[in-house]
Symmetry: C2
Subunit: 136 residues, 2 copies
């Protein structure tokens, strides 16, 4: 079972629900998409969310919480750095991305939410396969 945070964007959640994976919505303490059996947590962000969460320090604590509780941590970003509307230096963004990577978090940037949802689907499917079964 994949739990999705009840504050997740309605449109993205709808797309994710169509992937065929078993999904339940509830309030999560950590991450936006989690599967406890697989030890997977995903924090999904638009590029502007990502920039905002660097600036207010939220990202650092979110990352630490993910790493404390899950083995396989992902920060997935939709949108390009060049498209950001947030006033933040490009090197700060790249620096934070490298810092997350160094902590062991996978940081993957996709063009848009559609790509991101498909990528999440593949990640959950592959972890399920690796885990040897149908733990949807």
């Amino acid at each position: 079972m994949i739990y999705v945070d009840d504050r997740e964007d309605g449109k993205v959640l709808e797309m994710f629900a169509k992937t065929g994976l078993d999904v339940e919505v509830k309030r999560l303490k950590c991450g936006d998409y989690v599967c406890d059996e697989l030890g997977v947590v995903i924090e999904r962000k638009s590029i502007d969310d990502f920039c905002g969460s660097i600036m207010d320090g939220r990202l650092k604590s979110q990352a630490d919480r993910m790493l404390e509780q899950y083995e396989n941590c992902f920060v997935l970003i939709a949108g390009r750095i060049g498209d950001r509307k947030t006033e933040i230096n490009e090197n700060c963004i790249l620096g934070m991305m490298s810092s997350l990577v160094m902590k062991g978090i996978h940081v993957v940037c996709l063009d848009n939410e559609e790509q991101l949802v498909f990528f999440m689907k593949r990640i959950f499917e592959r972890f399920t396969e690796m885990n040897g079964g149908e733990k949807k």
Copy 2:
């Protein structure tokens, strides 16, 4: 010391040489940028290289070689999926990205070569710090 493959693009190599890291160019058997002391290997690709190497099967063997020889493996992609000129289905690209991630390779897509070079610089610097010193 960071070794760069002698087939690396001249413009990117020139940008990387300006980062101030110690660089030597030679023919590499695996990866485009490697640091043996830090156990880091980076395969740098434009989005079209990335797509091409999925289609001809090169990427899979490159990834396997990296994983055999280095602890910290990166595939860094400049350019976004939507920018590709290669005729390959978007889901194939996303599928391959998720497959590399599942093998333990960090896959990071940046907007352009400038961002990619800065990201590489930070990665090498952080591994050096983590390793406790000035192993440039």
